[in-house]
């Protein structure tokens, strides 16, 4: 369960204060899917960074599974991301020095995972097979196509068996066919593992495939009617 209350975020610039988010509210149920759309610069990535504990809000509360992540210390925030969150970025951010399998295993480097390395590696392999990269396990990122890189990034986001996946423009650099495949993959993960999925995107096709869609405008979320017929709640 994600509950966001009165969330505000502003930046100081020479001469003025820019308010990016203002008293934003959001509720997402466990296992739900949602998308956020909006024009460039409206604060989508800022919101995602706040939800992912990568940044601190100016005010307000973000509660994920009962944990107020806005008040976490940096080490606790890191642990939260490492164990309970999956990130998928537009640029994929695969590490060029590691092969596909190793890239998926990167979160384990935090060193405080209880399961054995072999277990994690087994699951990483399964995830990569699941995303269709069984032939690419030992390839380096530069040897992959854009879609393969994204699938690798998705597998990496799942390696810690997260309860929430935050995806920032995951299909920004993909063609329509690849975009559909990625959407299928993310929704499959959502279904199979009951993972909450929040996608920030410009792609209305992808956005519509989520159960709820919000538009971020003037620092607040506004629910949009989707093909699924249910508006996002509340704004």
């Amino acid at each position: 369960m994600i509950t966001v209350r009165n969330l505000s975020k502003s930046y100081e610039t020479p001469g003025e204060t820019v308010e990016v988010l203002k008293d934003l509210e959001l509720d997402l149920a466990d296992g739900s899917t949602a998308s956020i759309v909006g024009p460039s610069g409206c604060g989508k990535t800022t919101l995602l960074n706040l939800l992912g504990a990568l940044d601190k809000p100016t005010s307000g509360a973000i509660e994920i599974d009962g944990l107020d992540i806005a008040r976490l210390s940096e080490p606790d925030a890191a642990a939260f991301r490492n164990h309970r969150l999956g990130f998928v970025f537009q640029q994929h951010h695969l590490l060029p020095q590691l092969n596909v399998l190793e890239n998926v295993l990167v979160p384990r480097l935090s060193g405080d995972w209880e399961e054995t390395a072999a277990t994690t590696q087994e699951r990483a392999t399964e995830l990569l097979i699941k995303v269709g990269l069984q032939e690419r396990l030992h390839h380096l990122p530069w040897q992959l196509s854009g879609g393969e890189k994204l699938r690798t990034a998705v597998a990496r986001a799942l390696i810690n068996q997260p309860k929430l996946i935050l995806a920032d423009e995951p299909t920004g650099s993909l063609d329509p066919a690849s975009t559909d495949q990625v959407a299928d993959l993310l929704l499959e993960v959502n279904r199979d593992q009951n993972v909450t999925l929040l996608v920030v995107t410009h792609n209305h096709g992808l956005a519509k495939r989520m159960e709820q869609t919000f538009e971020l405008k003037t620092g607040r979320l506004h629910p949009l009617i989707t093909d699924h017929g249910s508006p996002g709640t509340p704004s």
């Binding site: 020479p14 990535t45 960074n49 992912g52 990568l54 940044d55 940096e74 080490p75 890191a78 642990a79 939260f80 991301r81 490492n82 164990h83 969150l85 990130f87 970025f89 640029q91 951010h93 590490l95 060029p96 020095q97 590691l98 190793e102 295993l105 990167v106 979160p107 384990r108 480097l109 935090s110 060193g111 390395a117 990496r156 810690n160």
Partner: protein, 1064 residues
């Protein structure tokens, strides 16, 4: 995947960008370790040389001008050595100041290594490698030695015999003795081997008329003073009991003619019934208008010859001279005689006595034994054969005088009281020529032993030197080579560390996305930083390891360079040595230094949020914040101004250097301030200059680092360049370091009289005379001696003759800044060159150094003044009169400062001619000063090489910065190209950015440097200095531009053809 594997992958993947880090670390480690190894090598070399110098010798009994019997060596289980100085001729080549060592088999057993004794045949010589090199001779070649026979008493003394006869010995070289075979034996603390010749002690002792004698006893174990005293015989004190049959007495006499005062006093105390005798030569005894030349006069206490109540102003004549002078009781008789004056000249004085009585020339009054064995007199057949070491007018000697000599030899013609004689003729060697005691009272048995027990070896000038401890102490060089090179390499090391850290930071920035991603994936920031540092540690450690290997070669190069200062040629002086502590400590220290720097420059980057890093790409993210630069600039300028204002109290050079450094910081702070406050102005933005200005300000930290490196480099190199010393004709000035003297003349054999010096002046046609110096105990403490010198060499002269000469820099507060300050005082006062005081002795004015006088007693020499940049570097200058009170046995002058009539070459030849028999080494004072300057100039040259490398590194940093900036601005340039901006304009923008760094760097550095060298500007060498500075500036600017161009070329190639779409 483990963290280790992750680190390994990072290292492999980013090996290209880590290459620069590796090279920077290797360079820095090489320089730092090289400095430490150079220090280790010098220390090791000095220790090895110290061991070679003394071999297995533990302590030495030093006789100086006294001689002991070789039996004493037997009793002490020591090796007897007879040490003299000689000139050695080998046909075409000759060498002066050669140590002549008469030795026997025992000497060779003290070699550092086990060796068979050198069995030198009667006419065999062995020489060390230094002498062989100097003379260019080998085994089988013939040599001729020439040296002055040491006198029975100091040739300084009156009646010491002639002093200008040379002993010559011819022989064949049978062996060149290596350093490990005692070839380097010397008690002088110096890394330069003394040229040494070895010959059988028996031959040398016979040649000087001292059979069975030695003046050094070398013991492998510390000599026990008690055992030494117990082993001493009267002969070892140079004493004997001379039977006086006519007086039914014996007389205690010394080989040195005059009984040493300490011995005289102790013997008289032990034998109160003994009567002192002082017999002396009167040049003239005159009365009644008549005179008798060259007669002995005896001063005695009670004797049957004399009336019991003889007064001090009365004389008793023998009948022969009474007849000769027709003198009668009551007549006045005048005695004329020589006494020692200043400069050891013999001045004739006279005294008048009243004739008390006439004694017949018979019995005790006719006893020849009144006269001791005056050298040059006692053994003479005729009066005309006398060589007493005093000026004689042989034409005055009459037939009757010769007859008297034939019949009565040195029988005194007149007798006075001992007290009167002592008043007239006592000198620093003694006041008695014998102590006479009746046979019945003569010490025998137990009393003989009591006399020996009362005497101490030091009474005869014998001292024990713990040469082992001295050698160990001397190996601790006052020149901290490691510290010296570390300080001279400081800028280079900092530049290397800075470059390494900058390149590492580039790597970190290049991996901003990676760091951001890792943070987003929940890897704690501390872990990410730790991994980055682990990669850095690996690369830096690897680079340092490489630096260790390079340091070995680099150190060898440094040592070769150092040999130009401290070696005299012929074989390498320094032994390469790495102390394990230096290796471990140096490596660890360097790695820690680099890692600390890396940590400092990366930790802020690591602290940034993951989101920021993910967004920032490879660029450094600069947040706007208030700069403290103006305050730093103001504070630094105030410090600089304060230093200038306080130059009077701080000393101009230190104050101006501090001021220069403060203005350097101020200038750099102003530069940073301008960068931080740079605003985009519309009119600037549309031309290359405006773009360049904005781009320079875009990454202020990077711009500051490069500009600071250039500014600091030029500040250090230029400000140190101003300290170069130049020669020229300054020696002609009396107030210069040469005191207006043109020549520095050191001789193998001494000159004993001022009158002899005048003879030399006449021979050399010297215009304003030679100023003679006595060379006392101690070692050369100049910058040419790497060894620690506890007691610098004493140079004693009549300081009143130095008035107005030499630059006296400081004296103790209560003393005038004049040479006369050396006169008086309870301690022996000395002036010393300030270089020696500061860097070798590491002392200050008012400090005292303990020397040992002729009696073996310690006494302080107080340093009361300093000379600035004088030819006396390495010595203490003391007043001769005060010196002779401590060293009455001092034997003559062996150093002379000579003037010139104008043509140095002609005068040098004239001096060489005049000093031929003395084995003189003649150099000009300007050569001597230039040699001292060359040491400092060599240091400066090393600093310039190392500092120059630092500047090159700083400039290389500019090149890397240019390349890096271009790489990071691919999009910007691609956009400009897409917009049709010609490449020439782009190049102009980039060039202007680099030139801006260079101009600021050189400008700030140069202004600061010129402030720091202001006090040096009036120096005579300023033209050369400014030419040198201008050359340096052009070189540095050109070098910086070259690197910037290189960086531009490297990046421009990869940028060519870049378009917006390609880079996006």
């Amino acid at each position: 995947m483990t963290a280790l594997a992750f680190i390994r992958r990072g290292l492999a993947h980013y090996r290209g960008s880590y290459l620069g880090v590796l090279i920077g670390a290797a360079l820095g480690a090489m320089v730092l370790l090289g400095a430490l190894f150079a220090g280790d090598s010098v220390k090791k070399t000095l220790r090895v040389i110290a061991d070679q110098r003394i071999g297995k010798v533990g302590s030495v009994l030093v006789g100086g001008e006294s001689f002991v019997t070789r039996e004493l060596a037997d009793r002490l289980e020591a090796a007897p050595v007879l040490q003299l100085q000689a000139q050695v001729d080998a046909g075409q080549a000759s060498a002066g100041q050669v140590d002549l060592l008469g030795v026997d088999d025992r000497f060779w057993s003290l070699a550092p290594v086990e060796m068979d004794p050198l069995r030198l045949a009667e006419r065999d010589f062995a020489i060390n490698a230094a002498l062989a090199r100097q003379l260019n001779v080998d085994a089988g070649d013939s040599l001729v030695l020439r040296f002055r026979e040491p006198g029975l008493l100091s040739h300084d003394a009156p009646l010491s015999g002639t002093s200008d006869e040379l002993v010559s010995l011819r022989g064949t070289i049978s062996r060149i003795v290596s350093d490990d075979e005692m070839g380097r034996f010397s008690m002088k603390a110096s890394q330069i081997p003394s040229p040494t010749l070895f010959l059988p002690i028996g031959r040398l002792a016979d040649a000087i008329g001292r059979p069975g004698k030695a003046n050094l006893l070398l013991s492998p174990v510390p000599l026990d003073p008690a055992k030494l005293k117990a082993s001493m015989s009267l002969a070892d004190y140079g004493l004997k009991w001379e039977p006086i049959p006519l007086a039914d007495a014996v007389e205690l006499r010394s080989e040195a003619v005059f009984l040493p005062p300490a011995i005289n006093d102790k013997a008289r105390k032990l034998l109160p019934e003994a009567r002192p005798v002082l017999t002396y030569l009167a040049n003239t005894i005159a009365a009644n208008g008549k005179e008798t030349p060259y007669s002995m006069v005896a001063g005695i206490d009670t004797s049957p010859v004399l009336p019991a109540d003889l007064k001090d102003n009365e004389v008793v004549l023998n009948s022969w001279i009474a007849d000769d002078l027709t003198a009668r009781p009551g007549d006045e008789v005048t005695l004329s005689y020589y006494v020692l004056g200043s400069n050891n000249r013999l001045d004739e004085e006279s005294a008048t006595f009243t004739v008390r009585s006439i004694v017949p020339l018979e019995g005790l009054a006719a006893d020849r034994k009144w006269m001791p064995d005056f050298p040059g007199i006692a053994e003479a057949e005729d009066n005309a054969d006398w060589t007493p070491g005093m000026p004689l007018d042989l034409t005055r000697i009459r037939e009757e005088d010769e007859t008297y000599w034939d019949d009565h030899k040195g029988t005194p013609k007149a007798f006075i009281t001992h007290r009167a004689a002592a008043r007239l003729w006592q000198n620093r060697w003694g006041s008695s020529t014998g102590l006479r005691i009746g046979t019945a009272d003569a010490p025998a048995g137990k009393r003989k032993d009591e006399l020996l027990a009362a005497l101490a070896p030091s009474d005869a000038g014998l001292t024990i030197r713990d040469v082992r401890a001295e050698a160990t102490a001397s190996a601790n060089s006052p020149v901290d080579i490691a510290g010296l090179f570390l300080s001279m390499s400081f800028f280079l090391i900092i530049a290397a560390v800075g470059l390494t850290a900058m390149l590492f930071r580039f790597n970190v920035e290049q991996r901003n996305h990676e760091s951001g991603l890792l943070a987003a994936l929940g890897i704690p920031a501390r872990l990410i930083l730790r991994w980055r540092l682990a990669e850095g540690l690996f690369v830096v450690a690897l680079g340092s390891g490489l630096g260790l290997l390079l340091a070995i070669a680099y150190t060898r190069g440094l040592l070769l360079f150092l040999e130009t200062i401290w070696s005299t040629g012929g074989g390498s002086l320094f032994r390469f040595h790495m102390d394990p502590l230096s290796v471990v400590g140096g490596l660890a220290g360097f790695v820690v230094l680099v890692m600390l720097t890396i940590w400092l420059v990366t930790r802020r980057q690591a602290r940034r949020g993951a989101g920021i890093r993910l967004e920032s790409g490879t660029e450094e993210v600069i947040r706007n914040h208030k700069t403290k630069a103006p305050w730093v600039a103001l504070a630094s300028a105030m410090v600089g101004g304060g230093a200038l204002a306080a130059s009077g109290t701080m000393g101009p050079q230190g104050a101006f250097f501090l001021a220069g450094f403060a203005f350097l910081i101020a200038g750099l702070a102003v530069f940073l301030w301008r960068l931080r406050s740079r605003q985009l102005l519309p009119e600037e933005a549309v031309n290359p200059a405006g773009l360049a200005t904005l781009n320079t300000a875009r990454r202020p930290t990077r711009s500051l680092v490069v500009t600071a490196a250039l500014a600091t480099g030029i500040f250090l190199v230029v400000s140190v360049a101003a300290f170069q010393k130049h020669g020229g004709d300054e020696w002609k000035d009396k107030s210069s370091g040469a005191g207006g003297f043109a020549f520095w003349i050191e001789t193998t054999s001494p000159v004993h009289r001022g009158s002899d010096t005048e003879g030399l002046e006449l021979q050399a046609d010297a215009p304003a005379g030679l100023l003679p110096f006595r060379i006392g105990m101690g070692d050369d403490a100049s910058c040419f001696n790497l060894n620690a010198v506890a007691r610098p060499r004493l140079l004693a002269t009549d300081v009143s003759k130095l008035t107005g000469r030499f630059p006296i820099k400081n004296t103790l507060d209560d003393l005038p800044a004049e040479w006369t300050a050396l006169k008086g005082g309870e301690t022996l006062r000395a002036f010393v060159d300030e270089t020696t005081l500061l860097w070798v002795l590491k002392m200050k004015l008012g400090d005292e150094i303990i020397y040992t006088d002729d009696t073996g007693a310690g006494f302080p020499v107080e340093i009361v003044g300093t000379l600035a940049g004088s030819v006396f570097q390495g010595s203490l200058i003391v007043d001769e009169e005060s010196y002779l009170k401590r060293f009455p046995g001092s034997g003559g002058y062996r150093l002379f400062l000579g003037q010139t009539r104008g043509d140095l070459e002609i005068d040098r030849r004239a001096y060489q001619q005049a000093f031929t028999d003395l084995g003189a080494n003649i150099t000009t004072t300007s050569e001597r000063l230039a040699a001292f300057h060359s040491v400092e100039n060599t240091y400066i040259a090393i600093f310039h090489v190392l500092g120059g490398l630092g500047v090159v590194l700083g400039a290389a940093g500019l090149g890397l910065l240019t390349a890096r900036n271009l790489a990071e601005r691919r999009d910007e340039f691609a956009t400009l190209r897409t917009l049709g901006i010609p490449p020439g304009i782009l190049r102009s923008v980039i060039l202007r950015e680099s030139v801006r760094h260079i101009i600021w760097g050189l400008g700030v550095g140069l202004v600061a440097a010129i402030i720091s060298i202001l006090p040096k500007l009036p120096d005579s060498g300023r033209v050369l200095t400014f030419t040198w500075i201008a050359g340096l500036v052009i070189l540095i600017a050109g070098n910086a531009l070259f690197w910037a161009w290189l960086g531009f070329q490297r990046s421009a190639r990869s940028l060519s053809g870049t378009s917006v779409s390609a880079s996006a």
